[in-house]
Amino acid sequence: MKRFSPVFRNLTRKPGRTTALILLTAFLALSLFAGTMVVSSLRRGLGSMENRLGADIIVVPAEAESKSSLKNMLLQGTIGTFYMDASAVDKVRETEGVQKASAQVFLSSMKADCCSVKVQIIGFDPENDFVVKPWIAESLNRPLGDMEIVIGNRVATDVGEIFRIYDQRCLVAARLAATGTGLDTAVYCNMNTMHALLEAAEEKGISHKIDTGNDAEVVSAIYVRTLPGADVGLVNNRLNGKIRKATAVRTTGMLTEVSDSLGGVSRTVAVLIAAVWILALVILFIAFAMMVNERRRELAVYRLVGMSRSMLSGMILKETALCSLAGAVCGVLLGALAVFPFTTLIETSLKLPYLAPGTGTVAAYAALAIAVTVAAGCAASLHTASKLSRVDPGSTLREGA
């Protein structure tokens, strides 16, 4: 007969005890992994939003605040169509402290036969743009042609396909990397394409005209980069004073607001993780303490037949480590099942930018959650292992003899 491992025998022949330990440690790993993933995704989403905004100030029509705020559009993909006179762009450029200004025009497609899907369409000026171009350059290594579009990461079509907007056929030239914001559900085109789409929309009865302008003279937002060293607040005030029927919004304010919300969510998640851990560790400690009495006699036999104290402690720790490892792996898998399929739901519920980390980072978090859980399980059993190893085998075996 082959050798056998008392550790495996103890684990497999006490399935109730083993399952309870695995479940407890799975609970620890699940809370740690899922919590870390949510917080990390929120932080990454904020970072991505900061990078994508690329501007210090955004000037939008005054009505934008009431119709559909820019923040909602950026975070949740809420479609916003608001317009102002394009002459505002030159006024912005002429303002003291402004280094660059780039206009964008927003349009929304319809949920009707004329359009593939209902999306936000963002037209940008390739000559002056400093916001969208660097981002598009990551996916497309040539200028975006007329009647070509670049789609956000979550738009349901493929590169090379034709995307219909108000019966205009646009070629999908590239797909952008995910940002975890509402921009993932938008499509981008140059101004020529946008003018064609605006005209087509007009024919379908979607008006974008303002009081006196024509199609070529409207913009939805002006992205502003201030001169290095300029007081952004002061430039913002100047723009608010200079541009009529428009509002200049500092992006840092918007980001700070998002960052504050994120801080609140992070704290809540951290408190929940801490509560779960304290509860589970107390239960683990009690479970191990109960095990002391249950296993005294069995462990006295091991001592009697020549197992040293250190071997006995090692055996208990090995049992705990194996249970904790099994539990931690199950917990991480359950955590992944709880977090990954519901990314959109979490993003919508929290109303914050949410961008899941890459595979390498997820693997690192999983490994970390497993390591911390196994260490916590072993730490909880250390006292028990030490206490059991000091059991006096002689007197223990005499008890109830």
Binding site: P6, E298, L304, S308, R309, M311, G394, L397, R398
Partner: protein, 223 residues
């Protein structure tokens, strides 16, 4: 190999820090020679089990020392003493002494595998046959009667093939037939060169003894 106890005693304090104690085993000496079966008789509470635990390296004497050959058991570190007990000293304790998660066979070969050795299957099967527990090979301890558990513990010690066997009331749970089987097995081990000590308050063991010792109120005497 002989096991020698030199002037060992064991005191228990009734109250910590005070001189109010009782002596479970009074100072005494003892030699267990190889090839000899010694029976230690005495009433319950006379100190027999305490003496056996001191001889087994399980309970440090208050005074004196215990030598296996030239090795002072209580001068060893725990890991050295544990290894020595695993290889040289077999203890058959009172009461249940089974690992509940191992089968009867696994319990019997357990001492042999603790330090990386292979199970002594042949010896185990031989002793199971001799002690009439072969049919229980794959049973779990929870399924066994007290007598069967006792015979399993005896088979475990004999399979380990130690130089010294210390048996505490090995026939306590057994009927006459099994008492004779067990005492014969221990006698056979003594004849094979082991030093055997059987602690018993019954008279059955005396017939198998080469030497009989008595314990009364912690005092050890030879008859």
């Amino acid at each position: 190999m002989e096991l020698r106890a030199e002037n060992i005693s064991r005191r228990y304090f009734r109250k910590r820090g005070e001189a109010n104690f009782f002596e479970a085993v009074k100072p005494g000496s003892l030699i267990l020679r190889s090839g000899e079966m010694t029976v230690l008789k005495g009433r319950s509470g006379s100190g027999k089990t305490t003496l056996l635990h001191m001889l087994a390296g399980l309970l440090q004497p208050s005074e004196g020392r215990v030598l296996l050959g030239d090795t002072d058991l209580y001068a060893l570190e725990d890991n050295q003493l544990s290894r020595l007990r695993n290889e040289k000293i077999g203890v058959i304790p009172q009461g249940r002494s089974a690992v509940d998660t191992l089968t009867v066979y696994e319990n019997i070969v357990l001492p042999g595998i603790l330090y990386g050795g292979m199970p002594r299957t042949e010896a185990a099967e031989g002793w199971m046959e001799a002690l009439d527990i072969s049919s229980l090979r794959d049973a779990m301890p929870a399924e066994l009667s007290g007598g069967e558990l006792r015979r399993m513990a005896i088979a475990r010690t004999l399979t380990a093939d130690p130089a010294v066997i210390l048996a505490d009331e090995p026939t306590g749970d057994l009927d006459n037939e099994n008492t004779e089987i067990v005492l014969n097995a221990l006698k056979q081990a003594a004849k094979a060169g082991k030093a055997v000590l059987v602690v018993s308050h019954e008279d059955d063991a005396e017939a198998f003894a080469d030497r009989v010792l008595h314990m009364e109120n912690g005092n050890l005497t030879e008859s």
